[in-house]
């Protein structure tokens, strides 16, 4: 085979970069620990009260996925680091000298890390669910993989975390700074939802379901409640957010000096 740049080869290069850093594995492990650990803790905590009247909403499923919010921070931060570290270390100059067309680097990074984040998220969610169902067996909160919507929901949790990973990568390329990327990520997913209470109720009700965090949560919710999107709509909304950040990242990567 002749020596030339191809999208597949750039993706292979990005995978090699990811694999060869110890911080990748540590952060990924942390995400899994959060996902499984918090799910199990929530299940133990909830087991005693689960048969009490008035707690029908606290199903084993939502306990199992209690850790998603924490895992998404780890996954998102790793996504930011994957690209911002290229700028903070100067590696980007080696990268772009090898791939001077530039955009293939962004697509490769986003898809390679997106797939890794999806697989890790899915695996973590499944393990968290199985562990939780073991803890809860025999209570009224008992759940099993064959329950309605569970498999779809767990896939949804994986998809959510995968897209958060892509958003992290794009924020890193857009802002070129680790601190900036992480702040933007944490602000968007943890702080903005809280700020919605400052808006008049009618505005807040109209906007809140479309926030990345709420749209993401509805992707893996077992049942869609009032005032939130369906799983499919949530996925589309989060995809739109992802595409928007990627477009911004692509613009800056292509236009600005490296």
């Amino acid at each position: 085979m002749s020596i030339a740049v191809s999208p597949r080869r750039v993706a292979r290069s990005e995978l090699a970069k990811f694999e060869s850093l110890r911080s990748s594995w540590i952060t990924l492990g942390l995400a899994l620990l959060f996902l499984v650990g918090f799910g199990v803790i929530a299940a133990f905590q909830g087991r005693s009260g689960i048969d009490a009247p008035g707690s029908e909403g606290a199903t084993g499923y939502s306990m199992a996925l209690f850790g998603v919010t924490f895992a998404l921070i780890a996954i998102g931060v790793l996504g930011v680091l994957t690209s911002s570290a290229e700028y903070t270390t100067g590696m980007i100059r080696s990268t772009l000298a090898a791939v001077p067309r530039r955009l293939p680097v962004l697509w490769a990074k986003a898809s390679v890390y997106g797939v890794i984040a999806f697989l890790a998220g899915l695996a973590g969610a499944v393990v968290a669910f199985l562990a939780t169902s073991a803890v809860l067996s025999g209570t009224s909160g008992a759940v099993s993989l064959s329950d309605d919507g569970v498999v779809r929901g767990l896939l949804g949790a994986g998809a959510y975390l995968g897209l958060v990973g892509v958003i992290g990568v794009a924020l890193g390329v857009l802002l070129r700074s680790t601190a900036g990327g992480i702040s933007a990520l944490v602000g968007t997913f943890l702080l903005v939802p809280g700020l919605m209470s400052l808006l008049p109720d009618s505005w807040s009700d109209a906007i809140t379901p479309y926030l990345p965090s709420n749209a993401g949560a509805s992707i893996y919710a077992l049942t869609s409640s009032d005032g939130s999107l369906s799983a499919g709509a949530g996925l589309l909304v989060l995809l739109a957010w992802t595409a928007a950040v990627l477009a911004g990242a692509a613009y800056r990567l292509k236009r600005a000096d490296a």
């Binding site: 270390t89 100067g90 100059r93």
Partner: protein, 303 residues
């Protein structure tokens, strides 16, 4: 071959590179010389597409660098020592770059061997000394077996061993018929390796010439003569292409256009005693300082 046409880069008010037009010819070592801040690094970054020119164009072997299917085959560039993730080993760094082009693991091991990194290839690059970092940068530049090697201040901060190693490497690469384009702010370093010189100051070209010519133009090959009869010697030496200067009443003359040997014979023939006969060579460093000094003055008076 690298061809720059009216290459210009401005950062806000500041013009870093100001209408550079030059050609780096294949199969030779071209030195890119200028004081710090002359625009050398910016020019090199524009050549490989890291910076976008404000105006003008630069092509590599006839097309923009980014339009080549295998850019690393066209130019191997060492731009800054720190273009490496410190957490990655030298081998992993090179392998990641190799993957983009489908370059084999065998070639990665080959460049590690060539640059003497075999002992440390599995260690974190962040722990490398400046010299090791520079070797890793050169290994990366050699990965694609490029026709042209472009190095920005390759010997900056290196110890004598490292300097010697780079000098031998460059001479070897040039002997293989590769094009070498390297920048430096040290004329003495350039004189040892470069065939051709492009001298820049304040983003403009000051000279596009050879080493010998630069020295000649800077007033090289002057002979200093001290004699008992300067007036008579002066008239005897006169001729086309000969310039003799000296202060009235002084025993000393500065002669250009005649060799020390010729002056010695002439004086002996006519029985003129000489007290001193010294070939006064303008060093490259002096020639370079004269050039860049003028550039600074020019800019200051134009403002």
């Amino acid at each position: 071959m690298i061809e720059a046409r009216e290459l210009t880069k401005t950062y806000g008010e500041k013009t870093a590179v100001d209408g550079l037009t030059f050609t780096v010819r294949p199969g030779a070592v071209t030195g890119f010389l200028g004081p710090n801040g002359a625009g050398k690094s910016t020019t090199m970054r524009m050549i490989v597409g890291l910076d976008r020119p404000t105006s003008g164009t630069v092509t590599v072997n006839g097309r923009p660098y980014a339009d080549h299917p295998a850019p690393l085959r066209e130019i191997g560039a060492l731009l800054e020592a720190k273009a490496i993730h410190p957490g990655r080993s030298a081998f992993d760094h090179l392998m990641a770059l190799a993957h983009t082009h489908g370059i084999s693991r065998h070639r990665v091991e080959e460049v590690i061997e060539m640059t003497g990194l075999a002992q440390v290839a599995r260690k974190r690059a962040g722990a490398f000394s400046l010299g090791m970092g520079q070797r890793l940068g050169i290994a990366a530049a050699l990965l694609g077996d490029p026709e042209t090697l472009m190095l920005d201040e390759p010997v900056n901060g290196l110890d004598p061993d490292g300097v010697l190693w780079i000098r031998n490497l460059l001479t070897g690469l040039a002997a293989e018929g590769r094009t070498v384009f390297l920048s430096s702010h040290l004329m003495s370093e350039m004189a040892l390796v470069a065939d051709h010189l492009i001298v820049v100051g304040r983003g403009r070209i000051l000279a596009d010439t050879t080493v010998e010519q630069l020295v000649r133009e800077a007033g090289g090959d002057t002979v200093l003569v001290a004699t008992a009869d300067p007036v008579r010697l002066r008239s005897l030496l006169a001729g086309p292409g000969v310039e003799v200067t000296g202060r009235p009443g002084s025993e000393q003359l500065m002669v250009t256009g005649r060799t020390a040997r010729e002056i010695g014979f002439t004086a002996a023939e006519h029985g003129i005693p000489l007290f001193e006969l010294t070939k006064h060579e303008v060093s490259l460093e002096e020639a370079f300082m004269n050039l860049t000094h003028d550039a600074v003055e020019y800019v200051a008076s134009a403002a």
